[in-house]
Every structure is written in structure tokens, then in C-alpha cells.
Amino acid sequence: METVVRMGEAFASRTPGDALACIGLGSCIGLALVDRSQGVAALAHVMLPVAAQPDPPQRFKFADLAVPALIALAVEHGALRTRLEGVLVGGAAMFQFGGSGQDIGARNAEAVTRLLEQSHVPVTATATGGGIGRTIRVHVGADMHVTAREAGGREEHLLGAPLAGKVAYA
């Protein structure tokens, strides 16, 4: 079954055959944490770098709260903390609006990356930046893999497939 993770939400699964997806990411980040040894995956749809208030209703909205919360969610579902790998997709800059929001996509990607580093979770693959929207999909199971698809493009394997690697746009 495919679960669509919408803005500010997160979902975890260890059921083989499940898929988790953030569809149509723009400046947001689809952050996947996977433990391939245990077949557990968690996916969050992160919207902004930092929470403005200490205890907001949706903690997965903000990178600073989402990263620790997603790690906890993955562990709750049976992931081993030390076996977690991170995959980041999204963070595009499709428009320029000026003001403090200047390139919110890049700031989202930076914030998530920094938080993962602080939590000692390695980032294994990314498809971030540029000016195009993307979809991230995590396929749960023994052959756990993560894919990214650009608007109008093909599904590219980011993790857990022969072509695993890094696709970055400066």
C-alpha cells in the first residue's frame, strides 16, 4: 500500500511491499530515514528550517524538530538507531519572492543536513536544489529502495539499487 505523506506529516512502516511518498515537493524536503538491516523506513515532509514557537502542533513541519522526531519514529518502528541512513529530496527554488524567504528550499536542505549530522545519521543520497519539483518514494521491504522523480521525468534510484548515488544541483 502506498501512503502519501503530506506537508508537515510523517509516516513509518516495516511492512514489506509498502511504499511511502511525498508527491510534488517544491521547496519542501522529503526526508527518508531507512534501516535496510531491519527493513524499516520513515518519511517526513518538512516545510521550514526552524520552528518559530517551542511546541508547535505539527513538529514534522520544521527541520529542527522533525529530524529528532523522525529518528524516534523510525526507532519506535524497529529501526536500529546506528543503522539509519538519510535520503533528502526536494528543496528546489522555483520562484523568487525576495524578502527573508529567499531560497527557502536551500535553507530547508541545509537545516535538515545539519541536524542529521548532529544526530550522527549519515546522508547516503540526495536530489536537492535546482528549480524543478520532485517526488520521493520509499519502497519498504527486503529490497528497500528510495527513488526520486523530477516533474515530467523518470523514476531514478537514489538508494538500494545498482544506480545508487548522488544527484546534486549547485
Partner: protein
Amino acid sequence: MTAFTDMQLDALRELANIGSGNAGTALGSMLGKSVDISVPTAAVMPLADAVAIAGRPDELRHGVVVPIVGDMEAIVVLLFPDPDARTLCGIYGIEPSTADGKSMLGEVGNILGTSYINVLAQMVAMELEPAPPQVVEDMLGSILESVLLGRGEDVDQALILDSALMVEEEECSLSFLLLPSAGGIKQLLERLGL
């Protein structure tokens, strides 16, 4: 953001009605065709639902974004499904994905956004002007989430004023969204005395 009363939503819907009527007339004279406008919806909803009302998040759209600056910040978004963008650009014999096509869609956005905003500005006595349009071809979800969060503000809910414009004889329709910033909605309602 606080919830709106029915009276406030009615007032915002009426603003959208007049604004989109004016925009439709402007588009009609540009194309030399008559343009029908649907009764606009005014809805306040969580961001995730706001994306969902416009369609499936992975559907491709031609999007024209016109930032509005001045006394109130807002963003006008025009969304064209690909066949509709083709029909519209086809009136001038061009393809929507080319530079000329993007330029034409941007111009449509400019005309619609300007005429909509002008009448709105007059009604609420504000100085508003459109910034240059930005044209993209991307997934609906990606376009809307980038627009809704573009200023980096923490918004929980979006006010969406949504009208559909239909060009007669051409079977071409587009969605027209006005997305005021959180502060902008408050200002609008204050000016209306609500």
C-alpha cells in the same frame, strides 16, 4: 491565523468575484473572445488541503506566478493544464513550452493579475502593484507548496480565492488563485470594516 466568520468569507468572495470579473474582461479583449468566469470560492484550509483542492499533486501544470507588492503582500497564481495552455497559445500559433509560449503565458498572467489587483486596490483603497510574472511547468503540488511557503513564513492555513476562467469556443480554462499573506488578509478585512 484565526478562523474567519461567514460574513468575512462572503466579503472576500465578493472581492474575488469583482476582481476575476475584471480580469476576465481584460483577457477577453486581449484574445478577442468572450470569457466566462465561475463563481469564485473563498476557503480557508490547512496548507496540505489547499494543494489537494487544486488537483492531484503530481499533475503537471503550466503555472504563472505574479507576486503582488505594495500595501499588502499577496501572490496571484494561474494554473493551466497542458491541453488548455496549448489551446490558449495555439490562438497565436505558438507552443506553451517554448520561450515564446512561456512569454505569452506570463503576459496572460500579467494582464489577469494586474486587472484583478487594480480593482481590488480601488475597492479597499490600497496601493498594489504586480511584480514581473514567473512562469514554470511543473507538478501542481510543487508549484503550490513553493508559493505558499515562498516567504519562509510559518503559515498553518491558506486563504484561497479561486476562480475558473473559460475562454469560449476554445474549450480552454484556467484556475486563478489569489493567495494573500497572513497579514494581508487581516488588512483586507480591516479595510472592509470587518
